[in-house]
């Protein structure tokens, strides 16, 4: 076997090694490959410590990003690799990272650092698959107070910090100013209340002679990514304070679904579904908002990148999602990508060193600017907002700092609850199922598992909390 260094694609600088990696067990290179494979299969392969030729420890960092988002983190990784001579971060982009991390962790061979989401961290943390970072943070002087509270909340579970933010996101109402003008609406005054949203949507909707919707004012199901959190806009919650009771179908939650039902009734379900059928892929010029067929759309901070890419001439604005009452503040959904250290990672100190590096204000801003998001840190340099390509970045940050900013519930059963909330939404939106019945069906499907999950936690809570506090 030729001992020349492994070659990496030239496009991603972070993949290039400064020097050849010396792999352990190089003396075995003369053995037949087939025999090695069989031995590896039989014994289970857990590679030893890898080092670069100049002696740097190689750590693996798995991320989920592609395109410009991947490149933004690659710039930070490159900067880290150039900043010191002890650690080399090998940055690999993975699809379905949560599933791959699940299997790699179960197999005892996880990466040293992984990019995760705030909504997946809970179930992995509760099952003991992640390392709590509190001890390391305390040792090195990193404080929870250094971050925007709603974003740090998304990193925490049961009082422990499980990851530190990489890039956060909030969602807001994006609207088409040209269509506002056409409809006789003030393009500088987006809807302030839910009632106004309904009124604006009516004026912005157009139909052809057959009754087919050719332009829609607003659709709660486009893009539908937050349909499971629909109750948030109406002041309700998905679980109670201690996450021991499901509350989506109670009080204001039910009101939210009744509003949804009325909205679908008003426009006609077949007409709405026909409009949805013509919607193209999100990241395309066929996107309903980007193509000008949908006048108002709930979207995240990332939307400006796609507008610039697919329809730079679009005249658009951003506003907080309308409040229920005049003068109120609409709820804002906040989520965050984060960096975690999986349990069983071989290079915890090196992984932590890299995570700390990303958390430095300068590096965080490099990353967030590259991904066209806002910084999760409380401290932001004055030039960050002024040079940011998204003209509304300040608003997205304000939304994250707002007391109405909310993330997904901190519960292990979130993935199942989310799926069932989506089905309840569809039951009302598509099938015209009465909201109370849809919520009743949801409770029947989720509650038994939810109660069992809580009971399971009760059995292991003491042991888990003790373990975590000692890690």
């Amino acid at each position: 076997m030729n001992p020349t260094p492994k070659r990496f694609p030239p496009t991603f600088a972070s993949h290039r090694h400064p020097a050849p990696i010396r792999r352990p067990g190089a003396s075995a290179r003369k053995l037949p490959w087939g025999l090695l494979l069989v031995l590896a299969l039989l014994l289970g392969c857990r590679p030893g410590e890898e080092r670069t030729a100049d002696g740097r420890v190689v750590i693996d960092y798995w991320e989920k990003w592609q395109g410009f988002e991947k490149d933004a983190m690659a710039a930070v990784v490159d900067k880290y690799n150039a900043s010191q001579d002890k650690v080399f971060v090998r940055y690999v982009s993975q699809s379905q990272i949560d599933r791959k991390l699940l299997l790699a962790t179960a197999g005892g061979n996880p990466p040293d650092v992984a990019g995760f989401w705030s909504h997946t961290v809970v179930s992995y943390a509760e099952k003991g698959a992640l390392l709590p970072l509190d001890r390391l943070m305390k040792r090195d002087g990193l404080l929870r107070e250094d971050y925007i509270p709603a974003i740090m909340d998304g990193c925490c579970y049961r009082g422990f910090v499980w990851g530190l933010p990489s890039t956060p996101a909030t969602v807001a109402l994006h609207y088409n100013k040209a269509l506002f003008r056409e409809a006789g609406l003030d393009p500088e005054r987006p809807p302030q209340t839910v009632a106004e949203l309904e009124e604006y949507a009516r004026r912005l909707t157009k139909r052809d002679a057959d009754g087919k919707i050719t332009q829609l004012g607003f659709s709660p199901s486009d893009p539908g990514w937050w349909s499971m959190m629909w109750v948030y806009w109406f002041g309700a919650d998905l679980v109670d304070k201690d996450a021991r009771r499901l509350t989506a179908g109670e009080g204001d939650g039910l009101t939210a679904y009744e509003w949804l039902d009325r909205y679908a009734d008003e426009y006609g379900r077949p007409a709405l579904r026909r409009f949805e059928a013509g919607a193209g892929q999100f990241a395309s010029a066929d996107n309903t908002f980007i193509s000008g067929r949908l006048a108002m759309q709930l979207q995240g901070v990332w939307m400006s990148s796609f507008i610039d890419q697919y329809n730079p001439s679009l005249e658009w604005g951003v506003a907080p999602f309308p409040a229920l009452v005049e003068g109120g503040m609409g709820t804002c959904i906040v989520e965050s990508d984060m960096l975690v250290i999986p349990k069983g990672a071989r290079h915890v100190e090196e992984a932590w060193d890299f995570i700390k590096f990303v958390q430095m204000q300068e590096n965080m801003e490099l990353l967030c600017m590259g991904q066209r998001k806002f910084s999760p840190l409380r401290e932001v340099s004055p030039s960050f907002a002024s040079s940011h390509p998204n003209p509304y970045i300040g608003l997205f940050r304000e939304l994250a700092e707002s007391p109405e900013a909310r993330g997904v519930p901190r519960m292990t059963l979130w993935d199942q609850y989310r799926a069932e909330l989506g089905i309840a939404f569809e039951e009302i939106w598509v099938r015209d199922t009465p909201p109370a019945k849809a919520m009743d069906l949801l409770m029947k499907r989720v509650k038994p598992r939810f109660d069992r999950a809580n009971a399971a936690w009760d059995r292991i809570a003491e042991m888990r909390l003790r373990d975590w506090s000692q890690q």
Partner: protein, 295 residues
């Protein structure tokens, strides 16, 4: 056993050992373990905890489990007869074709080589409710437009249509079977005054019955595990309203999204029992109707 025979045996075992190691490591061992896990509360990340039959009991009361089972059986009940009928008809036509035989065979077979993910993306567009080419064709002949993948009532039919795209494999097998039928049987039938239809009914179908049986059985096993096409065409959601949530999709959700690997293993063994039962029923129903050459 002589020394020479022993040596031959050892060589044989040595050369088949990669396959045997693979079979044991990646099929037999996981299968045995999955049976054990089906009796456990197992999240993959934590050690399994034995809970007896609890997973199987829970399945009985899981409405989504029943819905996904129904969806799968419904899909199988429509797809299998259609694919079998269309496969036989296409094979007979190809067998009879005198010109462009090779090109026609390639046209039928090549679509089955398209990767399933690409096929899924392609059919999403073909079946698009507003701009799909299928709706365009239907409008040309005066039929109303159908929001194929947007309505719970039509989504499964849309998947059936998309899946029929890949029947080229079975057509090739039918074609091989047709070419094995001795021409003397047709000659004898013609001498007796049989029409083309009668020849097909009394010569082709009986002589092709072992191939039909094989294709139906393989098709049944495959269709009960349908996954990739609906997964791609619905972004993994199985919508609308779970109308395209097939058995293996729900199993996959439990295994890798909900971290209920024990429950997913129980589902896998139930699926095995369903497929084995259906296969046994199919065997029982057809054993007197399949005519082998030796008979």
């Amino acid at each position: 056993m002589t020394a020479r025979e022993r040596k031959k045996l050892m060589m044989g075992l040595l050369f088949t050992s990669p396959w045997m190691v693979g079979l044991l490591s990646f099929t037999v061992f996981p299968a045995i373990y999955s049976l054990y896990y089906s009796f456990c509360d197992y999240s993959v990340l934590n050690p399994p905890v034995f809970i007896g039959l609890a997973n199987y009991q829970e399945l009985l009361f899981d409405s989504v489990f029943w819905k996904s089972t129904w969806n799968t059986l419904y899909f199988a009940a429509i797809f299998l007869p259609l694919s079998t009928g269309a496969g036989i008809v296409l094979a007979v036509l190809l067998n009879a074709a005198t010109r462009w035989k090779g090109a026609l065979r390639a046209m039928i077979f090549v679509p089955s080589l398209v990767p399933l993910v690409a096929l899924g993306i392609l059919w999403r567009w073909i079946l698009n409710g507003e701009y799909g080419i299928l709706n365009w064709g239907m409008q040309l002949v005066g039929l109303p437009m159908v929001n194929w993948m947007g309505e719970p009532e039509t989504a499964k039919l849309g998947l059936v249509i998309g899946s029929l795209w890949g029947i080229g494999n079975s057509v090739v097998i039918y074609l091989a079977g047709l070419q094995e039928i001795p021409p003397s049987l047709y000659e004898a039938a013609r001498v007796d005054g049989a029409s083309n239809l009668q020849q097909f009914r009394h010569v082709t179908l009986p002589m092709l019955s072992p191939v039909i049986y094989f294709n139906v059985l393989m098709g049944l096993i495959g269709v009960m595990q349908v996954f990739a096409l609906p997964y791609v065409m619905t972004d993994g959601a199985g919508g609308p309203l779970r109308s395209t949530t097939f058995y293996t999709m729900y199993l996959f959700d439990h295994a890798f999204s909900y971290l209920n690997m024990g429950y997913a293993c129980a589902m896998a063994w139930v699926l095995f029992a369903i497929i084995a039962s259906l296969s046994a029923v199919a065997h029982r129903l057809t054993q007197d109707r399949v005519i082998y050459g030796a008979n």
